[in-house]
Subunit: 254 residues, 2 copies
């Protein structure tokens, strides 16, 4: 149902891009639209956030984290290739773990706890900003309603996550030492994300066989960047200036 | 897929509410959560917005306006009762008109033009904020994926729109006289919205036959209030403080 969002590039030029040209186009999207540029991340990395603002971030982003394995299950369900599914199912394992108390979702809860929240406050997602819920649900809808090629392409933001995570870990340790015990999620992603991104980049490079499909891959990455960006818009709006927390949402006590 | 958003009230108490009690609960939702309370509307009514900010509002809200008949078509498709459909189809007529150049969508374009935009800038929806698109699409998903009762209940924000529209027309004429030629959308809604709301209120009062269904009706209204509110969050964030317009979105030139 969604309108195409603020997408650049015109579909219709017939000349197929080389792999290098495609990769350059994808990198250019990241340089302009990935959320490392977002004002909320800049505040975070400059040490300007309060503990309550970091709580709001961990609580809201938990909704995103909790939906990742659902997104990846939707991707799995689009593939009729056991070899593809064997690779992609690693993502579900990474987030869910192989027993209770392990995996990325659990590690994100440890970050939330380090910020001073209890897991009982976080897991029900009752105080999450509607703007965050709508953005994350738009990601699920994008993956659910698109081809496997576009679903895979929408994961390509992981091409850019390693640099952001490295910087974030340094800055969180420096400015917010109480979070230091909760950083194991990011440590895991430092190796997982580049592996996942390399597979997805190879997949779209091979399976986008027309210029139109290549442009769809680039637009899928733009749409995913917008989804990540909009989550931070909602958090920055609600928790940086006073008086903007929507009715019924999490109110920091610190 | 969506988590239940910041909903009040507990489902499970078995005592059926009287119609008066149900109506009081619904009015209480509006008093606390309807977007007449939103900071962006308060700025608007205080005369604090620039022409560019009003352009951003008309351009972004056009996406919502353009999706209303799609939403109402989804509602129609849920009903197997010709009498219900005869009443509800009026809403589609109100927005689409019965020939090109009439109807609520056209009138909204006249408002956008009064703000200084061309209809060619507005209709493609290319510069709409992702946060607005996700919220509006969440409304379509709510209607699409819910029962007819909940779909009808989600329209009940119209119970509260008459007072807001009356105030808005007065304040727009007072503070932004250049918009005066574009207010016919609101003039139409002054009579349409109360008629529509009265039918929907009667419908949910009659068809919610258990306490659980009554609570679902109340929660549907809360969810719709959150959808309206989140659109203004996105607009207020992007266009009131400098530096917050997401990549690729509308940039006012005035």
């Amino acid at each position: 149902m969604a309108v195409e969002l603020a997408a650049s590039g015109t579909i219709g030029d017939d000349a197929l891009l080389s792999k290098d040209e495609l990769h350059a186009r994808l990198r250019a999207v990241g340089e302009r639209r990935y959320h490392h540029l977002h004002p909320f991340h800049q505040r975070m990395h400059a040490g300007e956030l309060t503990r309550g603002q970091l709580q709001a971030w961990t609580l809201n982003r938990y909704y995103y984290q909790s939906r990742i394995p659902i997104k990846d299950s939707l991707v799995l369900a689009k593939s009729d290739d056991p070899a593809f599914r064997r690779v992609w199912r690693k993502r579900i394992l990474d987030h869910d773990g192989d027993q209770d108390g392990y995996g990325g979702i659990e590690k994100w809860l440890q970050l939330a706890e380090a910020s001073g929240l209890s897991r009982e406050e976080v897991i029900p997602c009752t105080g999450v900003l509607p703007g965050v819920v709508y953005a994350v649900d738009a990601y699920l809808a994008l993956v659910r309603d698109s081809s496997l090629l576009i679903a895979v392409a929408s994961s390509l933001t992981e091409l850019f996550s390693r640099d952001l995570i490295s910087l974030r870990m340094d800055q969180l340790r420096l400015h917010y030492p109480y979070l230091s015990s909760g950083l194991s999620y990011f440590e895991g992603r430092l190796t997982q994300a580049p592996e996942d991104a390399a597979f997805a980049l190879d997949y779209v490079s091979t399976h986008a066989q027309t210029r139109r499909e290549q442009e769809q891959v680039i637009q899928a990455l733009e749409r995913k960047c917008a989804i990540l960006w909009a989550q931070l818009d909602a958090i920055d709006y609600a928790y940086v200036q006073p008086g903007n927390i929507p009715p019924g949402c999490f109110v920091p006590q610190v």
